[in-house]
């Protein structure tokens, strides 16, 4: 039986739809499970057989978490570090990426390979020397040290993304502007930068998220209670013997909210900017 074109297309769409639905279901299930469990009372979490939806919305986990740790403070620390690390990485990477794509420098290819090379350095390898270095200049156990430590992973990444993005913008645009009488600076700020905005935004968001989610550097560099970032605080408090799973879930839920919101607002920029970056 030879199906006609319309039917084949319809079947194909149906197949894709169902496969996608199954996959999305499987992948989002853990998150779904986490969010639901955060709103269940601790008794209900341990019920067997497990319930899917909470029998009623229970906020006790959140209040218990708030009693145990000062959530707002850790959130603030995470935000400060992430924002600062992002600004630093982006501000340093933009002129560098521009320079490499616009000027004829020797060793341009070398730069590309060296960023890859640098990326192979394990964070754990850089950790101790960095800690010792910061201790010597009295910066250990400060948010500043964490921000600078974050650049070890955010800077090469940010630069690489922006480099690829800048590469995709033709030189002729600036040349045309300069010929029409603009200075190079005007050409850049009025024409090139606006074009690069999606890429810059994508790089910024990625850097923010990676910085927000960092655990290793916070664990190594921060020892005082008030300066902890949220991932570190959550991991530490989860070690407490008598903490309930529900309370942990409440923390996990809260921690995940900023990256997810940040992403939802800028989904379009993400694919656009990142897509160019991998050419």
């Amino acid at each position: 039986m030879r199906l006609n074109y319309r039917t084949r297309q319809l079947l194909k769409q149906l197949l894709v739809y169902s496969l996608l639905a199954i996959v999305v279901g499987i992948i989002t299930f853990p998150l779904f499970w986490l969010v639901l469990s955060a709103f269940k009372s601790n008794e209900e979490i341990f019920s067997y057989p497990p319930t899917i939806f909470p029998s009623r919305l229970d906020f006790s986990n959140f209040s218990e978490l708030q009693e145990m740790i000062n959530i707002a403070n850790y959130f603030k620390n995470s935000a400060v570090v992430a924002v600062a690390a992002t600004i630093l990485s982006v501000v340093v990477s933009i002129p560098a990426a521009y320079s490499v794509t616009r000027f004829r420098l020797r060793g341009r290819k070398l730069l590309g390979f060296s960023t890859l090379f640098l990326y192979m350095l394990p964070s754990i390898m850089l950790a101790t020397p960095i800690f010792v270095m910061f201790s010597k200049i009295r910066l250990a156990n400060t948010l500043v040290s964490l921000i600078l430590a974050h650049t070890t992973f955010s800077l090469p990444f940010c630069f690489w993304l922006l480099w690829a993005f800048f590469r995709s913008i033709p030189l002729e645009l600036e040349e045309a502007a300069i010929i029409s009488g603009a200075t190079r600076f005007q050409a850049v700020t009025k024409i090139i930068l606006p074009l690069c905005l999606p890429g810059i935004v994508a790089a910024a968001i990625f850097t923010f998220i990676i910085s927000w989610n960092d655990y290793l550097w916070a664990m190594l560099l921060i020892s005082s209670e008030e300066l902890k970032t949220m991932p570190l605080a959550l991991a530490v408090v989860a070690e407490v013997e008598w903490i309930g799973w529900g309370t942990i879930f409440a923390g996990c839920f809260l921690i995940s909210v900023p990256p997810l919101i940040g992403f939802m607002f800028l989904q379009k920029y993400l694919i656009q900017g990142f897509g160019v970056g991998v050419e």
Partner: protein, 287 residues
Amino acid sequence: MTSKKTPILLLLPLIVTIFSIIIYPAISAIFSSFTNQELLSENYRIIGLENYFRLIGSDVFISSFTNGVIFAIGITFISLVFGMGIALLLNEPIKGRSIASGLLLFPYLIPTVAAAFMFKWIFHDVYGIMNYGLVSLGLIDGPRAWLGSPDIAMFSSIIVGVWRFFPFVVISILARLQNIPQYLYEAAKVEGANIWQRFKYVTLPQLSNVLVIVILFRFIWMFNNFDLIWLLTRGGPAFATQHLPILTYLQIFWRYQLGLGSATATIMFLTLILLSIIYLKIYKFKG
């Protein structure tokens, strides 16, 4: 006119930062690896390659190294296959595509801490939904200790790793897929190619550059990644999931063996360089 110095000036902040925060510490770590320095101590002796010989002969090191490689390869391979499939699905023009792609990116965005606790609960041997679901569906006969049993722990960790990081593969492949010119497919159809042939002779070659980069990056990141396994199992049970980053951390911060730990980390770095060179040479040779 722009001065001759401008290009260098623009690059300067980047170069200075990279030198002070990456290159200098890296060299310092490599230097430490040739000493017997302890953490927080000023005295040390240069002992040459002794740390390296000690490591290569140590069982713990070898098992950590193997675990690290298994972890990295496992995640890279599975997320590549899985990610490719999903990217192909998302490439189809159907409604709800952007919602689906948005949802599928979530695992990449949440902190590793959250992912670790989430899966620790799902994999819980008594109350975990994984055991409950699989037993109810009749797929396994009894509950398993997904993270508690040395045999399965690595497998479970790989699952978590795939879940956490596959969106990177999806985005990269999808972005490239959407730029493949349609006429290539039309031409293939005219020549009578079916779906598999079109995939093999049009899609794959067009994707090859992206795939090379994705595989390389994924392997590097997973080989160096500390957070996931540490937060999930702490390298247990009984060192079943302990890999080189964790070994390094324990050597330096729990046993204070700075020299030894630096050697472990340096070996990690050298391994990656070596593998990348071999990998890229193979790729150039084929291409």
